[in-house]
Symmetry: C2
Subunit: 372 residues, 2 copies
């Protein structure tokens, strides 16, 4: 597992690379043409189509109220502009929902990197009571098996008559999510050779971003460290301490130190407040910011980062320039067709009843049954 060692290696390589004019690793990269795909879940058209249906289907949540797209809205920036999203039961988790766009280039999932693959993350999302809140894997399978369109699609894509397993649901969803990439940002055009694609301000911002130290960690295709490949494999996290320098006014203002990060999960004292590097692509359209969504604007996020990570107080112009650079990371969101969701048969009873004892959005749900 990669922790803070990596940034030191990178800093050294950066120093050598930039000084010598040739880096072993391209710290500044356009979005790759191809996404990393695990060997045991190859991308197929039929699987992507099925995954897209599932992504938009509220029947994957316990009471039929939210879909993946409810919090990770691909029609918007891939998230919901909320500090904390609201799951099927009206509950929120403690961390901000990141954009789903370009997540295929991350080596670990969740802010604390506790999932080693999209598939693993999706497993836990379906059963998390602050997200889809399905009671168990069998309930999910049973739910989908009651819908002939899904029953047939799973059989076709995965084979067998009992194919709507949680494993396969996660595989189909992950396949669709791997298609969600936003190439063609101004930055991409710039790094591919069109030097006029970035404004003077954005070019100054990029320079500041490098000089101040942001790029020590924020590099690679997502500006979140290396994508899965020779430098890091899927499951190898690329983590950083946040806040790195505690004690600024921001700690209290944005409640930055309460969350213990990876420590909660790993119980390794060295991982207190360690987080996976977040994606910077499309950051200008995916506020609010940070693991707890507490920082409302991008310019404030830039000020907070400079102070907490690099002990730097930015000038107004530096802040504006870095924001201009970050704006250049907004890519082209490709046009998409809407999926058509296979209908619930008219003899299937969904028993997602409202709890009479709770007036406020709490719903209990039973499994579906056929009642002709």
């Amino acid at each position: 597992m990669m922790k803070r060692m990596w940034p030191m290696v990178v800093l050294t390589a950066m120093g050598l690379g930039y000084a010598a004019g040739a880096a072993a690793y391209d710290f500044l990269q356009p979005l790759p043409d191809k996404v990393p795909v695990p060997k045991d879940n190859p991308l197929t058209e039929a699987k992507i189509v099925l995954g897209k249906q599932l992504y938009f289907d509220r029947r994957l949540s316990v009471n039929g109220t939210v879909s993946c797209n409810s919090c990770h809205d691909v029609m918007a920036g891939g998230q919901d502009n909320r500090a904390l999203s609201v799951g099927a039961l009206g509950k929120s988790g403690r961390r901000n929902a990141p954009t789903v766009w370009n997540v295929a280039f991350q080596t670990v999932l969740y802010w604390d990197g506790r999932a080693s693959s999209l598939e693993e993350m999706l497993h836990s999302h379906l059963l998390d009571d602050t997200v889809m809140a399905m009671p168990d894997a069998n309930s999910v399978r049973h739910r989908l098996d009651m819908i002939p369109g899904y029953h047939k699609a799973f059989a076709k894509v995965f084979g067998g008559t009992d194919a709507a397993t949680l494993d396969n649901i996660a595989k189909a969803l992950a396949s669709y999510i791997r298609t969600l990439v936003t190439p063609g940002s101004d930055f991409d055009h710039y790094i591919l050779g069109n030097k006029s694609a970035l404004s003077a301000s954005a070019q100054r911002g990029l320079n500041d971003f490098r000089e101040i130290g942001c790029m020590a960690c924020h590099f690679g295709p997502n500006f979140a460290g290396p994508a899965p490949g020779p430098y890091l494999k899927m499951g190898d996290g690329f983590y950083e301490l946040f806040p790195n320098f505690v004690g600024s006014k921001y700690d209290k203002e944005y409640d930055l130190t309460a969350d213990i990060g990876r420590y909660e999960y790993s119980h390794d004292p060295g991982e207190k407040r360690m987080y996976r590097l977040p994606v910077l692509r499309n950051i200008a359209v995916t506020g609010p910011y940070f693991h707890n969504g507490s920082v409302p604007t991008l310019s404030e996020a830039v000020r907070v980062m400079a102070r907490t990570q690099d002990k730097t107080t930015l000038t107004t112009e530096q802040t504006q320039d870095i924001v201009a650079f970050l704006e250049s990371l907004t890519g082209h969101f490709p046009a998409q067709t809407m999926p058509k969701l296979p209908p619930t048969p008219h003899e299937v009873v969904w028993s997602w009843e409202q709890s009479k004892s709770q007036g406020q959005g709490i719903h209990a749900a039973d499994d579906a049954a056929i009642k002709p």
Copy 2:
């Protein structure tokens, strides 16, 4: 206002028409080629595009959690398969969310017909605390005006720099909704001359549907009475008493008499338990059924209707045949592209905070502010 008189007129005309082989009114109609459009809100491409964005935009709800599509899912049957939908604040209304598909052919909106147009219905939906729960018209306008993409689109479509009014929001949404029609059902092919488009069972079901009396009210393009036109204008409701014959076991089993229907709204004692005729197109994919969503399956809904409206107890075969006929009303849901939602600028602060005093999905929201 049309109440129960109309069905009597219709019954008479039907008797004459069917007996004489020539009816003044086509009780059985394919879905019309054109939807009724109010003179003060002509359909334009730009308005439809804007309306589609708004339809899928969660920022139209107080806390950014639900869009129109959350409860009226056009990727599914135009609704959410729930007895009662769940609004932005986790609250439900008391009546089932009907499908949005083909609603353009209805003369009044809501189960009790209290809105005379789609536009009027949309106004109240945005401000209803069981739906989008926006506090007032100004909040909605302010919310959209903070988003440059919307500000420009409203100026372009409606003119002026202060065009994102609730009136215009409703007009744009209504324009998109008027494009949501599902032609090409088996029934449509049948009524247009392809007599083999309906199975023998569905043809028997259609005959039963007529003979038992269902068609006395369920006729016209949506099987919900005349569309806006020479027989009924927009705002003229086509209502029926439900249950018509009280006293069956179903009254209690499905809590059919508690809701007082239009009376609650009109205070006219003659309108107790009077409801607008619901759309039967796509009924096979839009369960659960009735104003309170209490009846889970279509076959049970058919049994309940025959008993409560026509005092008829159907045989098993009759029920199956009528269900087969109703299945033939499922139309072709046209392919759609996803809208791209204009991004929230990174300097806009959405203050949709979680209420600390409520643990369960209740969120208070303030207006947005710009905070650079």
